[in-house]
Point group: C3
Chain length 672, copies 3
């Protein structure tokens, strides 16, 4: 849990790397940061080489000074362990720390995210450093959280990883026969007789493109193994810290819907979830919201920390447009609206060199307080101070769950056929966006979640049904829930082996349909179907299905091609509930209409009705319920309120229930 | 030759891999397959790891069971040798079996097509396995053919290949001086003084892109060497089988116009040609027909085996659309129409895992007989049964030959200049399609073919004239034939060295033209010329030529640019025949008109006149002549017959000479 | 300096490689070349393998014969050292000569440009060969120049280079602390404690794309190091020649705006600059002119040698269109118009094999004198002969300097942010083209140039201001010059470290502006500004700037977006001069109008006023001034002359000041 008692408000601050510039500047930093209302700094993110100049020496003198200065200035600290990039001397002395890439090339020293997760050297010295940091700074009660490493990610295919993979496989499968069965190695004569015959799947072995493999089972297990291996690095550092400081709040900064790491498994090991929000300039607000809700979801609904965002501009996009006036504030409140209890930036001051020198910062290269960016940061700082504890520690209440699963993601996108255009996130976003734009709160939950608290559960492209997870659906529907899934669902079990005797496999009885074939439509090719008197396009995939108890919900099935007349949308009454099947993909208008109907039927209410581009969410706890209203439009917008309300930020009161929001403006409303 | 006596009808079946699923399923397989009229199965394609679990052990027990079951069920067998993918243990123990790729990377175990063709280990154990299989199953008289390895292909650049390349070169060139001359190594100071100085040409040496090399001669020889090396693998297995079973019918499944292997050389070593037909969804029927005719052509006009096609869907295309109803049947008959005496599928049953699990099969994951695909397969099975021997062992009679040559293909596409858009297959297809769509039977023949049986010989972009092959043309034209070739012809001899003293080199006297320069036009840029009063576009390349005895066949030459007025189409009367030269590329309308005129002049008749989209071919032998009529359209089509005819499939009789074909329908007609 | 006394006219000829064909052909060569007015041949460019067949043997017999023949035929020689490609035996025996590529792959023997510049073997034997050649041919007084190696370029990342890089760094930085500071290694914990920890920056270390690095400072220094390393190869050969022949004129053929080599540093080591002009078919004449002016500029304004151009066609472009009639002549005179005192071709005769066999040549594969190309070459030969010495040794006089800098080029294009579309050459060309198309002579000069001779100095995207180079600008403006620069200028010093306290850093006082932020606009997105009553687009980058003494030159600033009203074009009166700042990129119309105004204000006159597509330049010396008028149009053009003039080529006199130029025609005018 976020250590509220230590902070007492929305933590406001971010990455601060004074070791990258001369000490003369530090005092200026302190003044400028404090002038902007910054109260929390993340320190020591990339200092390994400086803290450990050689194998036997540790030198904390500079960090000591920084810690002292920050404490003196009344700031809280999120203390990082610095293990996101190893020292050059270590790479030279112990090359096992260097990764081997997907092409099979041994890397040399450089960049970051550069340590092999199964390197004995890395594991030894990263953990030792975490421990030493904990020992040295345990007495600093302004440390509010420990920040292990940084943006874990990437992959390695070195010999150590290959060996560790075999150990991981042996633990999982016990016998080589089970492994052969799980991977279906009879295909193409891949039978293994010994664990040592297994090699890491990359461009030198099973892959012919990054996402295209000849053995889905092997590649899938390697993804799981890598996610676990990297998680293991985190756990070992965390344990070292907790050995010294048992009640330390330990986290690491995640990256939203980041494909390589199964964050559901990660969040279980974290005291609170934190993440870095760097949307592209074109991102719709629902895409950003999806990431927030996912990050809240992996943490079981707990509030999370927004650990990084840019105050103004990124530097690594093709076109690094400035965040327009008001947008930084809007996105900060959007994070809070979805569960964040901190607003943190990368970074406090722009570096003078290397690849991030043109990334935005609170303090610019000019070192002045009269910049647009600084002023915007300072204004938000004031507002957050005035909010105090009032927004903290609240929960999002939702009747709707979207099931999300990394294994499913990997499985779908490794699949050879039916269509390269099938992307798991895109399909999830079709549903999420339709709900979000109608202001329904949505929880994003794992596939092993007990759904009994929900009225509607949606599993977009639920391709891989692991173990007995179908029973969770079965129980949910029987007890009255509405379940909705799509084409290409129920196809395989956890090892990507097809569930025989008819798609959608384990979900077939629940859905009451048999899918005989799936037709992949080229980009631009469409079929059609009619729902409630309106024609909608069908594209991407079209299932050719037979009703086995379900009823057709569309009017007359597909309108074209040789499967004209086959149902495109079905409903099966199952127990006290209903299971819906969408046999094809359609456009936004359809998802909006269909989900609005479904919510109505299930008695699910939106947070608020708003004009397009105005987002509303709610968070609540024992002290009350807050409604966040965010105007993402370039123009002002009028919102009708169901009751008289007051805005926490300005104190304004809306007696008549009429609210006018300026462009990019935000209100946090409570009933009065 | 296809062993007709053993089959007695169009062999119908395909790849069957029961070793990939539990025995319980086998009985069900037998019932379903027999229910669909399947009579021939290809067994043992990928079982090496299972047959040889380690270096000293062979275990045929599972294959024994399968062979017994299949025999009991009255099925014929095409028995594969399983050497299309090596066992994992072998790769671990003998890494020489692993390939080095074009980038110079040593591969690890994985995928298929993975054995180095010059690996001592591969050669030893692949041949040994073939021999053991022959010894063990020689007594099975239901084996109709031996299927060596599978879809040979790919490339290797390892040290063993490099060494073998030097041996191959020494045999070819005898002295290092001849090699230097052949490769023109004086250029860029590449002179070799010792065979060992020669390295394999890839991205680490002579190449800067896959198809771009600094030394065409070296890269060309490496292609020849690789094709020969891989052919050698085939020959060694074939010999091992024939040593045991002298009259075995041995083949391997080819892949149509597959660039890496010179199939003319391959076919000479095969008892009959067999190939796998996987057209893309967008392929025009003429493209598919081209491949069939090519496969017939490499076999000297003998009937061939269609070894694989999908009954319904592929899995490796970007968009794997379903084969529409009737299309599988239509394409099966199209194969027969062009010379196939078998109709085989990949595969009998869908596998449960790995990368081909979504590839179509006769028996689906659902394991049911009531699927669309199964029903279509069964219907065709019935038809083929009813046809008996009546379509077998016939020959295609054609007055037209298209000369095709792998060396020429390689040479053209390695060429640095004049245009990257010049693709040999595209140019061949311009001519083939114009003829095919007018229902002219076409033979595709090698460049060393005696053309005396033909009335028209076309050599699209006959860039490389090897040895004295020009004499074959000269003789053909002198004796009254019509020869047609194009821009960028006669440029080089067999080592890609320019034939000096004026293009088109050795063909210059025959064609009566001197090509002074060639202008490459960017995509979208066009010139024009007039033929029989109509304007046609000129693009890709425009030769600037001078008449040296030839006459201009177009009206007024190019219509634009500084070479306005220079001839675009010429005819040279040479001996009793004519030699035509097309100095540029044009559109379909031109090729249609021009070839129709030419055929008329040469007294060449189409098989039948049909509406667009309806294809007609003929095959004949001492027992008669059959006309295949195939409606590739989505609508029905009307065809006028020149005489009363009967359809072999339905027995229907068309007295009045009027035939109405349903969409995708097929007739096999004989005169009554 | 070009050795005029030995040549006595525009040297006319080019690469001649008779060692690539049989001796029988040589006599024919001599006749044909002499018939075309060729008087100078470049010999021995790729003969290393032939000259040194093994480590201890040298064999000059063939070259002796060629040298004799050429001398007998009265030709001058540019003698190459043949070290542009090493022998195969050397690569086999001494693999250190082979490069390691950007992907970290050790290359094998092949292609050219293939020697590691830090290979001990290469350095030893290339220098020895140069020395031996000098010793053997020193007495040939028809040698007019020595041509070291050929088109130096490329890169290497081998261990020898890595070690040499460390030595280079140690020399440059003296202490590891200075290196750490220069590269800002505190960022991402990259601190180095020992020189040996530094690795070459490529795809295995700091880079994630060819042009994208995580440490700009390292990558920048590696570029400098590579340029120096390769230059060192040149210098060592040059010194070996000069040791034997102290007054030898030594050069190497450069390649215009070739990014990898800092030609300003190279030209200092060359007796005269020579370069190879291979424009693409689409190149605007101003682009070609830019390269000429750059090549003149690196040589301090001295005349240069056009060492290579194709007489007709290239072979390595995607579409190798023929040079249209007259174009070869036009481009030859264009070279002279910009400072060339030679007209040389690659090549005299087409080779029979390998990758350049379809590259144009004076003598074609047909070996005839009646080709279009030969005739055009011969006609130009005659003209050049008639011109004698009259065009030689003149200088271009210009009031305008464009500052150009390789470090700046590298720095800008390594930059992470703000926009991937920012390309240095494109920005330079915007200014150059606007000036060139109005017939202003332009000098392209280094950033350390004393600008006092100029009236206008333009530094497009002057991102990196090295050392105290800003003082050169400051002095220039103070003394009355007009200085013009753009967005993204003054950002960093020589190590790519940001100059703090406000952009444009060191140029801020001169320009009188403070740039607070820079907005990157996606391709297709535009803002607008008004200049002299006309609206112009703003794109690519838009600076958000504040006036600090400067005045706004546009009318009302940006017309859109949140920075509407901020100035887009400013002028600062500084000392006796003015400093202009363009805060954004705009279209051709703007640059034309703006620069025309500026030139007018500065009293700068164009060479001549001409219709569009007609280029005019002037060259002059103590003997007079020549005006080159070149009609790049496809149609004839009329030009008004300010005074009666005579054309040197035809002797025609234009009394009335009216000149009509045919399409692609050229006049060299002098006043009468």
């Amino acid at each position: 849990m976020i250590p509220y008692e230590k902070i007492g408000k929305v933590a406001y601050g971010g990455d601060y790397n004074p070791e990258q510039w001369p000490k003369e500047v530090w005092r200026e930093d302190m003044e400028l940061l404090s002038g902007a209302g910054i109260d929390t700094v993340t320190l020591n993110v990339f200092s390994w080489a400086s803290l450990q100049p050689n194998e036997t020496t540790y030198d904390f003198s500079r960090l000591d000074e920084i810690m002292e200065m920050v404490r003196e200035n009344g700031m809280k600290v999120c203390l990082a362990t610095s293990t996101g990039a190893h020292p050059a001397w270590m790479a030279k002395k112990y090359p096992d720390i260097l990764r081997v890439d997907f092409e099979g090339r041994k890397r040399k020293f450089g960049a970051r995210h550069n340590s092999c997760p199964n390197s004995p050297t890395y594991l030894k010295y990263s953990v030792l450093l975490a421990k030493k940091l904990a020992q040295r700074y345990r007495m600093y009660d302004n440390i509010v959280a420990w920040h292990v490493s940084n943006e874990y990610g990437g992959e390695c295919y070195c010999e150590n990883c290959e060996k560790a993979f075999r150990v991981w496989l042996r633990e999982k499968y016990q016998t080589i026969d089970s492994l052969n069965e799980a991977w279906d190695t009879a295909f193409w004569g891949h039978t293994f007789y010994d664990w040592d015959e297994v090699v890491a799947p990359n461009m030198l072995s099973e892959h012919f493109e990054e996402n295209r493999t000849t053995f889905q089972g092997i590649s899938l297990d390697y993804r799981r193994f890598l996610s676990d291996s990297i998680l293991n690095c985190y756990k070992k550092e965390r344990d070292a810290i907790k050995e010294v400081i048992p009640d330390a709040a330990v986290t690491t900064n995640l990256m939203g819907a980041y494909k390589p790491l199964d964050y559901f498994r990660w969040a279980k090991e974290m005291d609170f979830v934190s993440w870095d929000n760097y949307p592209s300039n074109e991102a719709h607000y629902a895409q950003i919201a999806f990431n927030h809700d996912l990050m809240r979801g992996i943490g079981g609904g707990e509030p999370f920390a927004l650990m990084e965002q840019t105050p103004s501009v990124t530097n690594w996009l093709p076109y690094n447009a400035l965040k327009r006036p008001g947008v930084m504030r809007l996105l900060s409140y959007q994070a809070m609206a979805h569960g964040a209890d901190t607003v943190m930036f990368f970074q406090m001051r722009r570096s003078v060199g290397a690849c991030e020198k043109y990334h935005g910062a609170v303090i610019d290269h000019a070192g002045r307080a009269d910049t647009r960016v600084y002023r915007e940061v300072a204004k938000l700082g004031e507002e957050l101070k005035s909010l105090g504890t009032r927004t903290l520690s609240m929960r999002t209440k939702s009747d709707i769950a979207i099931l999300f699963d990394w294994d499913n993601w990997w499985g779908i996108e490794y699949s050879a056929g039916p269509s390269v255009d099938l992307r798991y996130l895109d399909e999830c976003l079709r549903f999420y966006k339709a709900l979000r734009c109608q202001n329904f709160n949505v929880d994003i939950v794992g596939v092993d979640t007990d759904l009994s608290g929900y009225k509607l559960a949606i599993a977009p492209v639920y391709y891989m049904v692991k173990g007995e997870n179908d029973h969770l659906i079965r129980k949910f529907v029987k007890e009255g829930g509405a379940f909705l899934t799509t084409f290409f669902s129920g196809i395989v079990q956890e090892n990507d082996l097809v569930t025989l005797f008819g798609y959608p496999g384990k979900l077939r009885d629940i859905l009451g349909v048999w899918v005989e074939e799936e037709d992949a439509l080229e980009k631009g090719v469409e079929n059609e179907f009619i729902y409630r008197g309106k024609k909608y396009p069908a594209f991407l995939l079209c299932d050719l299905l037979h009703l086995e108890g379900a009823k057709e919900e569309d009017e007359g099935g597909y309108q074209k091609d040789f499967y004209k007349g086959m149902p495109a949308v079905t409903r099966n009454d199952f127990g006290n509930g209903q299971a819906y099947y969408l046999a094809t993909a359609s456009n936004e208008a359809f998802y909006s209409a269909f989900l609005a109907d479904l919510c109505k039927k299930q008695g699910i209410e939106p947070v608020l009705e708003t004009p397009a581009g105005v987002e509303a969410t709610s968070r609540e706890n024992e002290n009350g319920r807050l409604i966040y209203v965010l105007n993402h439009n370039q123009q002002e917008a009028k919102v009708s309120l169901p009751a008289p309300m007051r805005d926490l930020i300005t104190g304004e009161v809306y007696e008549g229930g009429k609210l006018v929001l300026g462009a990019k403006d935000v209100k946090i409303l409570e009933r009065i």
